[in-house]
């Protein structure tokens, strides 16, 4: 009986010591950044070795890509849910006259509890400018890409598949679009047709065709002589079927990546045009507010800083996502 009691007494002490060691280890793990617990690290390494990197979602797991996707989600939610999130309505933000109902919103007032980022000219709140501006940028970018990407893909595929004279003629036409100075072309189109949002979308759409045509043409030229095309032709597929059902899905990868980068590029160009004064007066555009606040930059730097910061953050989000997408789709990095 005494022996059994002695044994029962000894075990709890050892178990208590072990528990204390475990607790100290867990506390260290929680509080010290970079603390490595060996058995956990070994188990993690074994797991990482066994899971396959072929699944697309796993390859997107880099921290920068996740930040980029997060930024895009925030911007899209700004654009979609703007009437509910923004403190001011669209009429107040985009109107030409100071709002008589809110006499406390002086122009260019510094950040205050009422206007968390300050106000710009006519007393418009900067937070609502940042939120409403997302709509214009995103809609112009997506709609103009909706015009240029399908057109560019069709032109590039036809040019590369048929080759010869058709290729030369189509590529010369595309060269004209590319060689024409871009910003000048945009400004001329806006000057000719008027400053409305639809003409911006059209102009950006026309300008973008060239890039996608060249990209698709390069890929299809490489893939045109491969065996599967010959097999498809032998099984009786016509030319258009081969082009758009067999060749295109395999050649579209650089275009997808360029698409993501182009959204950022169009947002930047749109803001640049708005800065120069070529914007739609009824819409809220970030570049326009930068140019308006330039006169008061020394007294009210917040009015210049925040719209530009918003442009930078939006484009950064798309660029980060594009980078992550490109690394994830890279065929040479498979099975690492």
């Amino acid at each position: 009986m005494e022996k059994i009691e002695q044994q029962e007494l000894e075990e709890p002490i050892e178990i208590r010591k072990e528990k204390r060691k475990n607790i100290i280890t867990y506390i260290k793990f929680l509080l010290i950044p970079g603390y490595i617990m060996e058995d956990l690290a070994v188990r993690e390494f074994e797991y990482e070795k066994t899971i396959s990197k072929r699944k697309f979602i796993r390859r997107l797991k880099s921290i920068l890509t996740i930040i980029g996707i997060g930024i895009i989600l925030v911007i899209v939610s700004f654009a979609v849910f703007a009437p509910w999130i923004s403190p001011q309505t669209l009429e107040e933000t985009a109107s030409f006259y100071p709002n008589p109902d809110h006499p406390n919103q002086w122009p260019y007032s510094p950040p205050s509890p009422e206007n968390p980022l300050g106000t710009t000219h006519f007393g418009r709140d900067l937070v609502s400018i940042m939120i409403w501006g997302a709509r214009v940028s995103l809609s112009v970018a997506l709609l103009s890409l909706l015009i240029s990407v399908p057109t560019g893909i069709i032109i590039g595929t036809i040019a590369a598949y048929y080759g010869g004279v058709i290729d030369s003629i189509l590529m010369r036409i595309v060269d004209v679009i590319i060689v024409f100075p871009g910003l000048v072309f945009l400004i001329v189109i806006i000057g000719v047709f008027g400053q409305r949002l639809e003409y911006f979308i059209l102009a950006f759409g026309l300008l973008g065709i060239g890039g996608y045509a060249r990209l698709i043409r390069g890929s299809v030229l490489q893939a045109r002589d491969l065996t599967y095309v010959e097999a498809a032709r032998a099984s009786g597929a016509g030319n258009w079927r081969i082009m758009f059902k067999h060749l295109l899905p395999n050649c579209i990868q650089p275009t997808v990546i360029a698409f993501t980068f182009a959204i950022g590029g169009i947002i930047l160009s749109l803001a640049g045009l708005a800065f120069l004064g070529f914007n739609d007066p009824e819409q809220v555009e970030w570049g326009f507010y930068i140019s308006q606040a330039r006169a008061e930059m020394l007294d009210a730097p917040w009015a210049v800083f925040w719209p530009g910061f918003m442009i930078m953050m939006t484009v950064l989000g798309f660029m980060l996502t594009g980078d992550g997408l490109r690394d994830a789709l890279d065929p040479r990095l498979r099975n690492i």
Binding site: R172, G182, V184, V188, L268, A271, G272, G308, M312, M319
Partner: protein
């Protein structure tokens, strides 16, 4: 001989492109609202005066005749007279007065961006995923996403207003005159003339705009260099070079960089057009009187002859740069010379 035939083939392809660009510009300016005849006449003109001015400007001919006269005029140097920006000044003189300033800005930015961009690209690819790579990639991403004019304004605020180290705009201090006209480029002229203070002052004026443009271009070059170097460094001949005992520096610069340069040269050629567009925005931010400023004024004022002249000039420039890039391809990689 193959090099010469390569260049000749390229030039032959570019001629129809140039003509299509001219046709497009002509059509666009025909569609533009605003009447140049009315803009050149005083307000109380009679109908006879209107017809006379129209005949003088050649606008009463049918459109086809106007088109051919336009092409002939462009190639013979008669680009018309600007009627809004500086009334009566020939377009050629206006462009040629402002063009050297923009070119100096663009060329300086190009040189700085290429030099530092290729260096950081190589370092990024060498220390892949280490802290050097991550920090350079972060800078490159920010550089690609930042608006030029916003960066310019932030730099203006910091260096010109807060710290007062650099002037905030313009090309020259108003107290200093102009150097003797030799080439039209202010830097070269002031150095030839012996006035070093003018050259230093000019440097301090263009430092901020050049930094803005160079930062953005540098970001693009860094990204492209890094990605093409990463692709090259996996090749077998790099492994052979290392196995033969070459120093790492030699492997990177002699073996890898030469092969990696082709996409980078493409980016530089494409980016030159973007630099001209960036020069428009930068000149607006720093209030410099260069060609970009001229473009914006011309389109605001609907000055047809000036717009024609500028578009033709920029198209010629971009075509020349593309030709240079194609020739550089042939020089760097002998396999491309077909």
């Amino acid at each position: 001989m193959s090099m010469l035939s390569y260049i000749m083939k390229r030039i032959l392809w570019l001629i129809p492109v140039l003509f299509l660009v001219l046709t497009l510009t002509f059509l666009l300016t025909k569609l533009m609202p605003g009447d140049p005849v009315q803009a050149m006449l005083p307000l109380n003109h009679t109908h006879a005066q209107y017809l006379q001015m129209e005949h003088m400007l050649g606008l009463d001919q049918p459109v086809i005749v106007q088109y051919f006269r336009y092409i002939a005029d462009l190639f013979s140097g008669n680009w018309g007279e600007s009627y809004t920006v500086n009334r009566g000044v020939p377009v050629w003189d206006l462009i040629w007065e402002r063009f050297p300033r923009t070119i100096e800005l663009t060329v300086f930015s190009l040189l700085i961006a290429t030099f530092f961009g290729i260096k950081t690209g190589i370092i990024s690819s060498k220390y892949r995923n280490k802290w050097q790579d991550t920090s350079f990639r972060g800078f490159a991403l920010i550089g690609v996403s930042i608006p030029v004019y916003w960066l310019g304004m932030m730099l203006q605020y910091l260096f010109a207003y807060r710290l007062d180290w650099l002037p905030s705009g313009g090309f020259k201090n108003m107290k200093y005159g102009d150097p003797k006209f030799v080439t039209g480029f202010r830097l070269i002229d002031s150095l030839i003339d012996g006035k070093i203070y003018m050259a230093i002052d000019y440097f301090s004026h263009i430092l901020l705009p050049v930094l803005c443009l160079a930062f953005i271009f540098l970001a693009g070059i860094t990204r492209q260099t890094r990605s093409s170097m990463l692709e090259i460094l996996q090749q077998d001949y790099i492994r052979t070079a290392r196995a033969k005992g070459c120093k790492e520096k030699v492997v990177l610069h002699t073996h890898a960089l030469k092969n990696a340069l082709i996409p980078v040269v493409t980016v530089i050629g494409l980016g030159f057009g973007g630099l001209l567009g960036g020069a428009i925005l930068t000149e607006a931010t720093f209030t410099m009187a260069g060609m970009g400023d001229l473009v914006v004024s011309a389109i605001f004022e609907r000055d047809i002859y000036l717009i024609n002249g500028i578009v033709f000039f920029s198209a010629l420039l971009i075509i020349a740069i593309n030709l240079l890039v194609d020739v550089l391809y042939g020089v760097i990689d002998p396999r491309i010379r077909y």
